[in-house]
């Protein structure tokens, strides 16, 4: 069913390395942090694609590189078929109205010296839309939309709680009627009882305006709730991508399997009986990635081939992509 939907964003062999340099005057490159290393996927119109992984795996860099906030080292991002890295700056700027981002930290992403009215109106100003009166009306409309009192327009960010600030961030992202929003861990800084409020708001807005989300998070339970499809990332690479239910019921990659088994469930009897795969060690540094399959150093089922060869990214079943040499062996892990 999802196949017929239009492809909104296409990420093709995207690579983002950050150079490590030495020296002050005569800088030379001595290595690179391979934050995103050759990943390809598509985001379909109207869907929510969840992107999960541990800290430092490159999920935020992926989101930002898609928006061209980082210039990709190589590879392409297509938005409605247009290559974002090739189109001229003035055209890109126009296109940017359609693509927005909500940041993780609602404390750092709002300018403390601007009133929230000015914060939300700023995108309108930058894109020369309307006049003072219309943008004021628009701001009030947006505040209503995200469940804040329009009278708050003259207040400053410090007068709001974390949840309310995140609503302000959402209002700002919506100001230009975008089609696509990158949600970069929008709820991880919030309290449990407030997380559900913000997630429900995002879902309501999606329905109302037919928004497409790339939802970046490390909380798998929330990602399962909000996403249509889920991509799992490990050390700069995608390891698995599938429909939500396929990913949870028919996991193929040993990393996805272990990651899911590590998420605690708020149900004591179930939690006590669960089979868990505890991964050894830490995530290796993206500046010094292991040979072959990057997961082989922690993988519970790794074999010789995994140390030598990087597994290809293949569509194992319809719409279910995975990069592992030993899918069959992995699927027996939880038995």
């Amino acid at each position: 069913m999802n196949k017929e939907k239009n492809i909104l964003v296409k990420v093709d062999k995207l690579v983002k390395y950050f150079p490590i340099t030495r020296g002050i005057v005569f800088q030379k490159e001595v290595g690179a942090v391979k934050a995103v290393d050759n990943i390809s996927f598509e985001i379909r119109e109207g869907e929510t694609l969840g992107l999960v992984g541990e800290s430092g795996c490159g999920k935020s860099t992926t989101g930002r590189t898609i928006l061209q906030l980082h210039e990709p080292t190589s590879g392409h991002v297509y938005y409605r078929g247009e290559d974002l890295s090739k189109i001229p700056a003035n055209k890109l700027r126009k296109l940017r109205r359609n693509i927005q981002i909500i940041f993780q930290d609602p404390y750092a992403s709002l300018n403390p010296r601007m009133t929230i009215g000015d914060i939300i109106a700023e995108p309108l100003e930058i894109h020369n839309i309307g006049n003072a009166k219309t943008s004021r009306e628009r701001v009030q409309e947006l505040l209503n939309l995200v469940g804040l009192n329009p009278f708050f327009i003259k207040r400053y960010p410090h007068e709001f709680s974390g949840g309310q600030r995140q609503r302000i961030g959402v209002a700002r992202a919506l100001a230009l009627n975008p089609e696509f929003i990158v949600c970069d861990e929008p709820i991880s800084a919030l309290d449990v009882s407030v997380q559900a409020q913000v997630v429900n708001l995002l879902e309501e807005l999606q329905e109302k305006f037919n928004l497409t989300y790339l939802f970046i998070a490390h909380d798998l339970s929330m990602v399962r709730h909000i996403s249509d499809r889920i991509a799992v990332m490990y050390l700069g690479k995608l390891v698995e991508l599938a429909d939500r239910d396929a990913l949870f019921n028919n996991k193929m990659h040993p990393y996805s399997i272990s990651l899911l088994s590590a998420v605690p469930i708020p149900d004591p009897p179930k939690e006590r009986q669960r089979k868990r795969i505890i991964l050894k060690g830490d995530v290796p540094s993206p500046a010094n990635v292991p040979s072959g399959c990057r997961f082989h150093t922690r993988c519970p089922i790794a074999e010789e081939i995994c140390k030598r060869e990087d597994p290809p990214w293949i569509e194992k079943e319809t719409d279910h992509w995975v990069a592992c040499h030993l899918v069959e062996k992995a699927q027996r892990l939880m038995l």
């Binding site: 339970s221 929330m222 399962r224 939500r244 949870f248 990651l259 590590a262 605690p264 009897p269 830490d282």
Partner: protein, 331 residues
């Protein structure tokens, strides 16, 4: 009920902070007991007083601004509110130890890991440097750090987040504590590392038999590790029950709403998440009524006038609420 010896008995603990903005009422008269070898989870949102209550118990808050007031806090047969500072220092770090949330800031960056683990051994157990070094290596190995002996001379920045937290655990275990307080020890870490540490602490607890207080906001982690759970809200204990009772049959509207608002990784619910509207109250005024009343869907007149006492409704299940959630009427 629980036949084990009571090792910690907190009676009517109040903690306030005197600030320029006014008096912050962080902990508002909490009482509970902990038994030897028991694992107690303390859950609640940020600012509910869960960490402050524990820091008050071991007297780690700077005073002023903090002011601690309690009828008594018994640790075994000693009243921690009455003993001298030097006696407190002798208990803290040996019989009662604490692991902090942020392994990046709770280790001293200019001292080696070895130095920091040796410190409590020398201080509390009177070991000499050689003995302490040997014991430190054993402790590091116990918490699962490979080549422990060589890592003693490393500095904290050479350790990853998970390893630093392991080093913290080694320090906390150094003197064989009776009570280990873990203050959100895995919150700053990734899920796979969290799973490693939870298993590690569970294993060590089984081996050494100490009591464990696990402070967290993550109801999932508590479900797997705790025997009993205390739920805090705005500085009050609102519910205290065995873990299965608390999750299976919560009696406080806050606990119940909190559990319903959690998405679960084992369950593909399509419907919207239940939410708790509003946000936790500010702490500048001590609430005279039930602190959860403004957000509670069961609120009645009495809830606006009087704060419900924490009462034992079933054996081992205490709750502070006027309303019976099953009927929606007053108890």
């Amino acid at each position: 009920m629980d036949n084990r010896e009571v090792i910690l008995d907190i009676r009517d603990l109040y903690t306030t902070f005197h600030t320029r903005e006014g008096i912050v009422h962080a902990v508002n008269g909490i009482s509970y007991q902990l038994h030897a070898g028991e694992t107690l989870g303390i859950v609640g949102e940020s600012g509910c007083g869960k960490s402050v209550s524990m820091l008050s118990v071991i007297d780690l808050l700077e005073s002023p601004p903090a002011k601690i007031d309690a009828e008594a806090i018994y640790f075994k047969d000693k009243n921690l509110r009455e003993i001298s500072k030097s006696d407190m220092r002798r208990i803290r770090g040996s019989s009662i130890t604490m692991i902090f949330q942020d392994p990046m800031t709770s280790l001293n960056p200019v001292l080696t890991i070895g130095f920091q683990i040796k410190e409590p051994l020398k201080l509390h157990l009177g070991m000499n440097d050689e003995q302490a070094a040997k014991r430190s290596a054993e402790l590091l190995a116990l918490v699962g750090i490979p080549e422990a002996e060589n890592r003693l001379s490393d500095y904290p920045h050479q350790f990853s987040g998970g390893m630093r937290q392991r080093a913290m655990i080694a320090m906390a275990l150094a003197c064989n504590p009776t009570l280990l307080i873990a203050d959100e020890p895995t919150t700053a870490l990734d899920v796979t590392i969290q799973a490693q540490l939870v298993e590690l602490i569970k294993g060590i607890q089984k081996e050494l038999g100490m009591a464990l207080i696990w402070i967290t906001h993550d109801l999932g982690v508590v479900a797997g590790i705790a025997e009993r759970v205390v739920v805090m809200y705005a500085g009050f204990v609102v519910e205290d029950a065995k873990v299965d009772d608390l999750y299976g049959n919560p009696l406080h509207p806050y606990t119940s709403a909190l559990l319903k608002s959690l998405p679960r990784v084992d369950d593909d619910q399509e419907e919207k998440l239940a939410t708790i509207e509003g946000m936790p109250p500010g702490l500048l005024e001590r609430p005279e009524c039930c602190p959860f009343e403004p957000r509670c869907s069961f609120a009645k007149d009495i809830c606006r006038n009087e704060n419900p006492p924490l009462e034992e409704l079933k054996p081992g299940h205490r709750v502070a609420c006027w309303v019976d959630m099953n009927t929606g009427e007053l108890r």
